[in-house]
């Protein structure tokens, strides 16, 4: 007979797991399935190697970043809600503005809330699946460790969403929790819900672009859920955001190090031919930016959205930093300017702020993306090289919303579909580009050493040396 597992020990939490029989029972059935999922869909190999990981053991300052070597299957996936600092917390927006936040799900909103949580939850394991083969071509041990860190935390985010489903959505919630493990990225029978999460992350350049651009979509989705009137969801997402910030940092510094390496090569060899010296040239990098930025913009949905408007009115999902926006937080008669595509022209149009919630979030996102791009450009400038990485126009290469029918160049000029076909491979990675990047992907496992196309990071993890053995092979 198997020994009873003490879940309160195994699963660090601040949700009173040890005294919640219902939740324990649900997790007892789900946990082995999760472990099975992690073994088959999580990082390929390296499950028995110790990785220098950060684990959250509590939500206070001391507890959220606990470093040490852990085998990934032994990672302590915890369930945490951010601490509530507000006494008498009130709903900030929508129809229920001013009412007390909900600790239980109102029946009326059970379905939409479940849908929001499931859609968010589905992206978490999806990215782990998308990245599962990357370790085999890790450019260094630090990078491999960063990949694994991102992976275990995305899996923890799955736990966070599963907790909400199990604690608040009864049998339906338990079924949804199981289905989160049954769907799988790219599976023709049971694909992940959002299209972008069924694409493979084939190389490390894509991985960094993904963590910079696509995880940033996650940041904005989570941030608008932290505004939710359903308090457990708000607090769960609040805590997830701290980890998400780290993932974007991995992306930003990853790309920065590739840029650094390209600049170093250009200066060292006085050449523009970065590829000859095993680096990734800046024009290729620009193409990847174009691709990942435009695909990630699509994740925000259509410019005009009834669903988003309903979620807002119902108090389920707010805007980014609702508190800082100066308006009535109900938006019945508020205008908002959105870009539209009509008669082959890109124009601005004033529409109801309520139905343009998605677009507003996308605006915030674009602004945020630009900040990191500015930092990349500063690196290039500091290296004395004349090149500027630019975010493409929002209408460029879109599949969703008003621009999905438009052919638009990165600078925002509207072109014909013939021109698009002719030019698109100047703007988006071509097969050749992919093959070139793929050819660079060779695993480097000697501590302190790095692949030819990426510079070393400035500092190690948690003040460890650069040549620390972050993954013990």
């Amino acid at each position: 007979m198997e020994a009873q597992i003490d879940y309160s020990q195994l699963i660090p939490n601040n949700v009173g797991l040890s005294s919640d029989r219902k939740l324990q029972r649900a997790l007892e059935s789900w946990h082995p399935k999760f472990m099975n999922w992690w073994q088959t869909n999580g990082p390929d190999s390296y499950q028995e190697n110790e990785v220098y990981l950060r684990t959250a053991v509590s939500v206070d300052k001391k507890g959220w970043a606990h470093f040490g070597p852990v085998k990934m299957p032994d990672y302590r996936w915890g369930i945490f809600l951010a601490e509530s600092h507000e006494q008498d917390k009130r709903i900030k927006f929508g129809e229920h503005q001013g009412e007390k936040v909900w600790q239980e799900v109102p029946a009326e909103y059970r379905a939409p809330l479940r849908r929001l949580i499931v859609t968010q939850g589905d992206t978490e394991p999806a990215s782990v699946e998308q990245q599962r083969i990357l370790a085999a071509t890790a450019p260094s041990l630090v990078d491999m460790r960063n990949l694994f860190q991102v992976n275990v935390e995305e899996a923890r985010h799955l736990w966070a969403m599963v907790y909400l489903l199990m604690a608040h959505f009864g049998r339906d919630g338990r079924e949804e929790a199981e289905e989160l493990l049954q769907r799988s990225s790219g599976d023709p029978d049971k694909p992940r819900i959002l299209g972008a999460f069924n694409e493979q992350t084939p190389d490390w350049l894509s991985f960094y672009m993904f963590t910079y651009f696509t995880d940033r979509d996650g940041k904005y989705q989570l941030a608008s859920l932290t505004e939710s009137a359903f308090d457990p969801l708000a607090r769960t997402c609040q805590f997830m955001l701290t980890e998400e910030a780290h993932h974007m940092h991995v992306g930003e510094t990853g790309v920065a190090r590739i840029i650094q390496k390209a600049c170093d090569i250009m200066n060292q060899y006085k050449t523009d031919d970065v590829r000859r010296h095993g680096g990734i040239d800046l024009p290729t990098l620009q193409k990847y930016v174009n691709f990942h930025f435009s695909v990630s913009e699509d994740l925000f949905g259509a410019e005009i959205s009834t669903n988003a408007a309903n979620y807002y009115t119902q108090g389920l999902k707010g805007r980014y930093q609702e508190n800082r926006i100066k308006d009535d937080h109900r938006l019945k008669d508020e205008p908002y300017e959105v870009s539209t595509f009509r008669d082959q022209k890109i124009a601005k149009e004033e529409v109801s702020a309520l139905t343009s919630i998605n677009e507003r979030l996308r605006d915030d996102y674009i602004e945020d993306c630009q900040r990191g791009v500015n930092r990349w450009n500063k690196l290039i400038k500091d290296a004395g090289i004349e090149f500027e990485i630019k975010l493409p126009h929002r209408a460029f290469h879109r599949q969703i919303g008003t621009f999905s029918s438009a052919c638009v160049a990165p600078d925002g000029s509207v072109i014909s579909s013939d021109q698009w076909e002719e030019k698109k491979l100047e703007w988006l990675p071509s097969q050749q580009d992919h093959e070139y990047v793929k050819s660079l992907m060779v695993q480097v496992t000697e501590p302190g050493k790095f692949a030819s196309w990426i510079a070393a990071p400035r500092i190690g993890i948690n003040s460890q040396a650069i040549d620390y053995e972050y993954v013990r092979l």
Partner: protein, 567 residues
Amino acid sequence: MPASQDIQKRKNHYIASFGINFLTHPKQYKHWAIKIEEDIAWLGLNVSESDTLGDGYQLKLNSYDLGVDIELNDAIQRIRFEHPSIRCVIIHSLNERVFCAGANIKMLGYSNHAHKVNFCKFTNETRNAIENATKNSSQTYLCAIQGSCAGGGYELALACDEIYLADDGSSAVSLPELPLLAVLPGTGGLTRLVDKRLVRKDRADFFCTTEEGIKGKRALEWGLVDRIIPASSFAEQVMSRAKEVAAGKNPESAAVGIQFTPLNRSFKENSIDYSHLSITIDRTLSSATFTLHSNHTDLPHDLAGIMSQGSDFWPLLIARELEDAILHMRFNEDQIGTWIFKTSGESTDVLKAESLLKNHESAPVIKEIVLYLERTLKRIDVSARSLIAAIEPGSCFCGILAELALACDQSYMLLGQFDEDERPEAFITLTDFNFGSLRMVNELTRLESRFYGQKELLTAVEESTLNRLDPKTAEELGLVTFTPDDIDWEDELRIAIESRAVFSPDALSGMEANLRFVGPETIESKIFSRLSAWQNWIFQRPNAVGEDGALSLYGSGERPKFQKGRV
């Protein structure tokens, strides 16, 4: 612009720009694609977002407006006539993410009540035609669902004989009308759920109050679908099932079809002319007179002749013209509340045409023509118009055309002749077609309905088959309401029409529908009566269409406020 103003503006625009053409052709389709593979047809829905019938909305997520359904109706009709060797039709979506999101909600929100009801009626008739083809034409409809299938999308599926759902963790079927819009499914969803698919009441209740619907195993267990199929083998398994279904059918595949040629019609301000049907409109009396003409000149002699005449063969032509006229008058002439039916020509020509149908009744195309006539006459029964027959000398209310008089709420037959008119006294002739081939939605013939529960009267009528029934006999047999002579004729008819014009049109529609459909309910009759009663009521209620109603606010992001009292 504030959401409410925005809605009002688009609403007005939408109504103003309305004018609907029911004729189309596969080459003109914007939303459907027909693909024929031997005895199987794939009917693919791929709604073109911006090709809408009205303004102010886009047909997102394969949602439909009347324009989409006009094409579907045309496609079903053409598959029957032009491809009679088809044994199985698969309705599916060409959009990867969604099967069909149902009727477009914004369109419903912007359209006036009459359009909403007319729209639902037409879509119901189209779905009934799907079931009718499955039952009578050996063309079984299957529905293959991948992606979400909501509201009218699932109701379309319910009209099919079998429903397959992709088991991919996200494809689901739903009827979200009540929780989302505070209305009911408008195309028979509730009735077919319990009456046709025999879904248990409690489960149906849960299903219809669950916005996101039900997927996978549970959908199968509850009988909402017939099979769940993994996504990777979906198309393949659907195809192999379609082949089984087709193989189980009587081949009849030698059957050659009839191509539908475009109808000739010309619109003037107060008249419409088809080849064998003319309509004149009297706007002061809010009435329209339909006159159907028999065909004297070019009836064929045999099946080969019929086939070579094709869609110009009189019984088929008259069905097409009458159908188009009914739809036009319903949608585009809603102020015209009374339809008067007249005929002109020789009864012998009608009899000749009928005997051609009778002699070749086993030929698939002939079967189709009769079924088409039946469906067209049903459209008259369920039209919200006062129907009056005027039977005069020179008319030919015989067999098929006599059904027009029998469909009417009241009928007037001239006793004797008009002054200075040589034509003989009018007569009615009943044929086999009045005793079983042309049934109403309650599955009774119009004569069975007329003499419901009075067998002896029906028997007496039956015994007079093929007789020339003069006005006196017709009145005695109970076939007409009044038989005024030429002195009273004009006045009586005028009063009948004028009085219809002064009564409340709503009360008239309700009364007429109550009186027209006697006897037991069928799925078909239930669908129409419940649409007329419940849905019409709910569609009018503040909780749906009031300023704070769910349908009015849909899409604005504002939340409906319901009046809580139960009525």
